[in-house]
């Protein structure tokens, strides 16, 4: 009966959020899914967590700035999942009970619920946009991550481990699914060799909550997460949008008040940090991988094969939503003081299909 009432609750919550959808982003359209996720967390832990559902409705209706709204959704699900991690007490691993020296707990045991928390987190982090989900791969990944949680003793730490594993697995190309398998193997080995079951409730909750806070751009969390710890510069941009082939130059008038040049690379994703891409004159400023990177290097499809680090002063925009979100590889390079005209020259040793892209001035 109790389970039935939770099903009714989830249906009501999902319908409420469906009525509240009126923005066009995939995250907004997934609002009913968020409502169900919050309901699951409430059912797993504290019923009061359900207040997340009216908060989702209020955020959808009352927050007009997209970034603020999506962050508000993130805050709600982060709180719900953190609460679920605290609500599921006394974790143990029935599957491996005894094998790894576990004694388990005698009363109030609901550690068996942690895999549900993990499933909720992974669905929110990876299944948005719903239309672009690779179902079989995602189900396989989910199964492996649940396995990791079970092996590690169904603790909040295990959930954190599962979430991180899911985040760092692009699942494109298919062979990247070896990553969670490898993690699972390491976990089994560690437990077999006597690793104690780690709970680490607080740090685990904080890490998972951080990931969930940005679930609307979970792809960026996975592939460029330091960017989310920086303050974005919102400077007016004078758009140039021109490409410079190897050994060629481009001369540009510097707009008044401009202090930096925004550049990115094309077809340079395979280069490592420090590789020379070009030069800016006057001042003889070298442009290297690390100052700017390949424009699409952080895309889900390309991230696995790319070797580019995050630009030192990222000037890219977050594009897309959910696990398909990515940060373009533009970087900000300070202009020589007082320069009225600059010349951008692409390094002659770059491959013929590579180029340096001048995005604009800021």
């Amino acid at each position: 009966m109790k389970r039935f009432s939770w099903i009714i609750t989830a249906a009501l919550a999902a319908y409420a959020c469906q009525l509240a959808v009126h923005h066009a982003t995939p995250v907004d359209r997934a609002l009913p899914l968020l409502a169900v996720a919050v309901t699951v967390c409430a059912a797993l832990s504290y019923p009061a967590v359900m207040v997340g559902v009216p908060l989702l409705v209020v955020a959808s209706v009352g927050l007009f700035d997209e970034q603020v709204r999506l962050l508000a959704y993130g805050a709600v699900v982060a709180l719900a999942i953190s609460a679920a991690l605290f609500g599921v007490r006394r974790p143990q691993s029935p599957l491996f009970l005894g094998a790894f020296g576990d004694t388990g707990s005698k009363s109030g045991d609901c550690g068996h619920r942690t895999p549900y928390v993990l499933a909720v987190a992974i669905v929110l982090l990876r299944w948005i946009p719903l239309s672009e989900v690779l179902v079989l791969r995602e189900l396989f990944l989910l199964g492996i991550c649940v396995g990791i949680v079970v092996v590690l003793g169904r603790t909040p730490f295990a959930v954190m481990f599962g979430v991180i594993t899911a985040l760092i697995t692009p699942a494109i190309p298919l062979r990247t699914l070896a990553v969670p398998l490898l993690v699972l193997g390491v976990a089994v080995a560690a437990r077999a060799f006597g690793m104690r079951r780690l709970v680490l409730r607080w740090p685990s909750a904080v890490v998972v909550a951080f990931a969930m806070l940005f679930f609307a751009w979970s792809g960026v969390v996975a592939r460029a997460f330091p960017y989310l710890l920086t303050k974005p510069k919102e400077l007016p941009r004078h758009v140039i949008a021109m490409s410079v082939a190897p050994a060629q130059s481009l001369t540009l008038d510097v707009p008044e008040h401009a202090t930096s040049l925004i550049l990115s690379g094309a077809n340079v994703a395979h280069f490592r940090r420090g590789k020379l891409l070009g030069r800016i004159e006057p001042g003889g400023i070298d442009v290297r991988i690390g100052d700017v990177i390949d424009w699409g290097a952080l895309r889900r499809e390309q991230a696995y094969g790319a070797h580019n680090p995050l630009p030192r002063d990222p000037a890219g925009k977050i594009r897309g939503y959910g696990y398909n979100a990515w940060l373009d590889g533009a970087g900000r390079i300070a202009l020589p003081k007082g320069a009225r005209t600059i010349q951008v020259t692409t390094d002659a040793l770059l491959p013929a299909n590579a180029s340096l892209q001048v995005e604009g001035f800021e």
Partner: protein
Amino acid sequence: MIVAAVIALLLAPLAVLRRRTLVAYTAVDAATWLFAFILWLRIPGFDPWLGAIGIAVVKLATLSLFIANGTEVRWSANRAALLAALVYALALPVIGRHPLDGDEPFYLWVTESMVHDFDLDLRNQYAAHGSGPQFNDPTGPNGEQYSRQEPFLSLLLVPGFALFGVQGALATIALFGVLLVRSTVRWMEDEGIADAHVRAVFPFFAFAPPVLYYAVRIWPEVPAAFFFVEAVRGVRNQRLKRWLPALFGLVMLKLRFALVAVALVGTMFRRRPRALAIGAAVLVVPLGLLYLITGSATNVHVWGELLPAPGERYVTGFFGILTDGMSGIPFQAPFYLFGLFALTRWRSTPKGFRTGIIAGSLYFLYLLPRPEWFGGWAPPLRYLVFLMPVLALGAASVWDRLSRGAIAIAALWTIGLTIHGLSFPNRLFHIANGENAIGEWLSFYHRADFSRLFPSFIRMNGASWIGVFAVLALIVIGVRRWKHDFAIPIFALALAAGFAHAKKPGTRVEFEDAHVVKEGGELYPEMYTMMRVTYRGGWILQAGQAISFQAQRGTHTLHAITGLGATFELGGHAYHIDPHPEYQRVRVIIPEDGRVTLRCVSGAINVDRMERE
């Protein structure tokens, strides 16, 4: 300010939490700071003031949660008062961003006059501050200009004002707020309320509207609440030395509280007939003092106000206080719905609660038919603030019987109200036009009539009676604890359904409302017109000016008035109205659902509203 807030928020838990509870709270606190920092990084354009207050209130709510549910809590009335002192000290400068408003300056000028001139004549204060008397203020035989406000509050403010000026006066009120919190907690303990329930109710009472707003502004409401609690405690404990001076102070603060004194003394009459004589003295002395000051024992009031008013005004006032979107309890202080729920469990409530309610009933009855039942130009629920400790006691007494979901919703709503009120203290003063702050805000941004979803008894709308039934259902069954608690999802569904409904055009358009896009014209009557609530509001359009709004397809009746005559265009049709001294009804046709424009082509017209036939 922010540094002080951070220090206070770090110190506050040390005063009440211990060991594991303190450690757990500290961890949550650290995580909150971390996430606040991340949000600060990622949302650079966000209003920093709103953000800072939001974080502070969320932290206070978190602390309250630990105080309520913690296993190791050091709790006493004095600790509650200490917490209240910390919070009010922080709230004073925050609320102080909005200048003194409503009756506040007049109380302060009387204090200033007492301190500097040793009299109550405000002529030089008005001259110095570029102001003038309030409507119907009493005058002396030699042209002295007195305030209509009773001078006792001003007298209480004298020491603080003499030492620290306005800040000292505000601090005096905050001190009364602290005393009120302490007395209320003690009262709950006296009445045998479980410690855990007192701790759960405490933040809803002390750190939430309306007490929080009135504890840091110059109004007599919080001192009155303190005197009232002390009087009821004195009566309950049969301590003459407590209730007599408290009741005297209460009546001295505002003559209207004489009705409370009469009812409270009446509750003692059966047991102690002698109390009637003492109570009479409590009434006579303030009346005599007022006579000496103003020449009239009733000041600006007349005895005729005690005569019964027409019945429908009682209905409007009662249901307005119960459900009005701008001034009603569910919208402005939802926690006190639990106090109203306690009324349905009358026999099982503590004796103190029943005494308090009976004591307030005569006053309440006389408040209902008054045109300013909604509180006038003041923060919400002004005339009921003194009753809030009683309702809080009632809520605490039925705490175990309350839906946990309903409590969570009330907490959420209260947090939102507190953040809003502290961030935008000017919005605590809302013109009585039938809309409320949230309705106006949503209407403005969505360009749709959200205000019609909020019941209004200031300007009756379609939601008024539906709201009455909804609130009554809420009080009787909605906040009750059930085996399966669907309160939160049903609330979410109601919110979302309301939103979906509000996006569509309504059957009635009030042209002064926020959802109407105005291209010129002016509000009628002016915003700060005295007793504006008694007028038919509208929007005046001159030739060439226009308004646009969402309307339903079909035939509507437009209510308008014009002294010059006017021709206007609406929905592709032109209409002419002849001049007339009274409001006229014009049948207009809207060809299809959606946004239409009403443009004044010639003359001038004051458009009031449009209703679908």
